[in-house]
Amino acid sequence: MPELRSLVTKVRSKNAGPFWLTIDIFCGSQAAYERVRDGLATSRVAEVFGTRRQTIKRFDIPDLQVVKFSLPRPAVQGSLHDRDMHGASWAALLGETVI
């Protein structure tokens, strides 16, 4: 059972404004795209980020071989309990998820 990051070109996370986090999985090939699209359930992503599946927006984008997730930030950007001002590190947490 491989980690997501070993299957794809890049996993990237960034703020999408102060209240949202967005994570782009660049799969890099049609085979990898299909594997991620079919193998990474939105409910699993919700578990990784400690949130409910209903709060997550998912975009499967075949033209770019990208699977994208957007979710309310685990802590609002720059709030007292935020750990990551630019939302940069969250990609690693998803990238290490086994699928």
């Binding site: 404004g17 967005t22 950007q77 007292l80 750990r83």
Partner: protein, 451 residues
């Protein structure tokens, strides 16, 4: 056709001089650059100041002002001074005056201010003229009235008003990233979907191409779409780099809300025009019935003191989390007993670098680190008490033992004194829109002639 030259994703990030000159030689109709973003957090809007060094901003802006004079076209900056608050606009205006005096060029400057009076904004909330966006914080009128700064994000309408003054330079407070690029193409009846889509692709400069740090791009807008061309040596745009840019920092890669409507790029077609340029058509602008502008606001939430300690003793590295939990428990009890502060009056957090600092309880990995960084973060109602808590914590970070029996341990500090004082800290309060009858209702336009 309208040709927009974008020197970089933000003033202060640098741009490629050769590529800029190439852009000027190509005869642009306008030069547009973004001056800010919320991406570096609430402190800048909280304080109304710029993130970038004044010397960097001045140096880059002087280069753009000279290029503007050479091209004889308007130069516009949006979200001046990182946050676009009125004080940041004044800072940018001051820099502009200095450069104008040094360059000896007469100038007409239009200043668009986006700052909102907190009391008036609280009243707008009570009147029902402010509505929440997705994942907006739960607030009330008092939270709005308490804001240190509130800005409204101007759209194309307000930038158009500034351009219609005939100004050489437009210094705008908070705007959407796209408005400064889309405004002129929209004024000249270019394809509306193409104008907004091209603006979105161009707002980060060459981030939509290879060699993203080169900055400079040119966008040609016309009746059916747009063509984007990066101008630095070795920078190429492809249908993939351009379409992938819609993912960047966007919660939704197909829909982008702007004042007065939204952009829908679901039907956009990206084609290579040549080796370096990409042609895009098929994006759609969907006007809204209601004219709204997004609001950003920040309020002060206390004063912060930070201390860093290092654990290198293998016993303490292995038991860092238990050690930190014990310190929190003992120090919190002492803070309550000696300072009369209850848990809800302050925060005391120990983040363990090498253990769980990135994700806290969501961390899934464990490892065998040889050292642990301990970052203590304290927030209190005033600077004096934040400092006092830092001093109360100090003996624990210096000597706290895992067991009573062992010889007293000592841990490493990097500085004397170990406490660092951040001053006042802020949080974002608003993720809302303000409903306007007239687009200029929340904005102020001033024209200044520099002889």
């Amino acid at each position: 056709m309208v040709r927009v030259l974008v020197p970089s994703g933000a003033l202060g990030l640098n741009y490629d001089e050769t590529a800029l000159q190439r852009g000027i030689a190509a005869g642009p109709d306008i030069i547009a650059i973004d001056g800010g973003s919320t991406d570096s957090g609430p402190a800048y809007l909280g304080r109304g100041v710029s993130k970038y060094a004044r010397a960097s901003v001045k140096s880059e802006w002087a280069g753009l002002m000279a290029a503007r004079a050479q091209a004889g076209v308007p130069l516009v900056i949006g979200t001046a001074g990182t946050c676009g608050a009125d004080s940041a606009v004044d800072w940018m205006l001051d820099i502009t005056r200095e450069i104008a005096a040094e360059q000896g060029t007469p100038l007409k400057i239009a200043v668009l201010r986006s700052g909102q009076d907190p009391a008036a904004t609280a009243q707008a909330w009570k009147d029902g003229r402010i509505t929440p966006l997705g994942n907006a914080p739960d607030i009330d009128a008092d939270a709005i009235a308490d804001c240190t700064n509130i800005v409204a994000l101007a759209g194309a309408e307000q930038i158009t008003a500034a351009l219609e003054t005939g100004a050489d330079i437009i210094i705008a407070g908070r705007t959407t990233d796209t408005a400064i690029i889309a405004a002129l193409p929209l004024m000249r009846d270019c394809h509306a979907g193409g104008a907004w889509h091209g603006a979105k692709i161009g707002e980060c400069g060459a981030l939509c191409a290879t060699n993203p740090q080169s900055g400079v791009i040119m966008i040609d807008f016309d009746a059916t779409g747009f063509t984007v061309t990066p101008l630095a040596d070795g920078a190429h745009a492809s249908p993939h780099t351009v379409s992938a840019h819609m993912l960047y920092e966007n919660a939704d890669p197909f829909i982008l809300f702007e004042p007065g409507g939204h952009l829908d790029v679901t039907g956009a077609v990206y084609k290579a025009a040549d080796d370096t340029s990409v042609r895009v058509e098929g994006s759609e602008w969907v006007p809204a019935d209601d004219y709204t502008v997004k609001l950003e606001g920040t309020r002060a939430v206390g004063f912060r003191t930070v201390t860093i300690a290092l654990l290198r003793d293998p016993l303490y590295v292995a038991n860092a989390a238990a050690w930190a939990d014990d310190i929190i428990a003992k120090c919190s009890a002492k803070i309550e007993a000696r300072m009369g502060l209850a848990a809800e009056d302050y925060t005391l957090d120990l983040r363990l670098v090498g253990h769980s600092a990135s994700f806290g309880t969501l961390e899934t990995r464990t490892g065998d680190p040889f050292e642990i960084g301990v970052i203590a973060i304290i927030t209190a109602p005033d600077a004096a008490r934040a400092s006092e808590i830092g001093k109360m914590l100090n003996p624990y970070l210096l000597h706290h033992p895992l067991t009573r029996e062992e010889e007293q341990p000592t841990f490493a500090f990097m500085f004397s004194p170990p406490e660092m004082h951040h001053g006042e800290v802020f949080e974002f309060v608003l993720n809302h829109v303000l409903h306007l009858k007239n687009p200029m209702d929340a904005f102020r336009l001033e024209v200044i002639d520099l002889a």
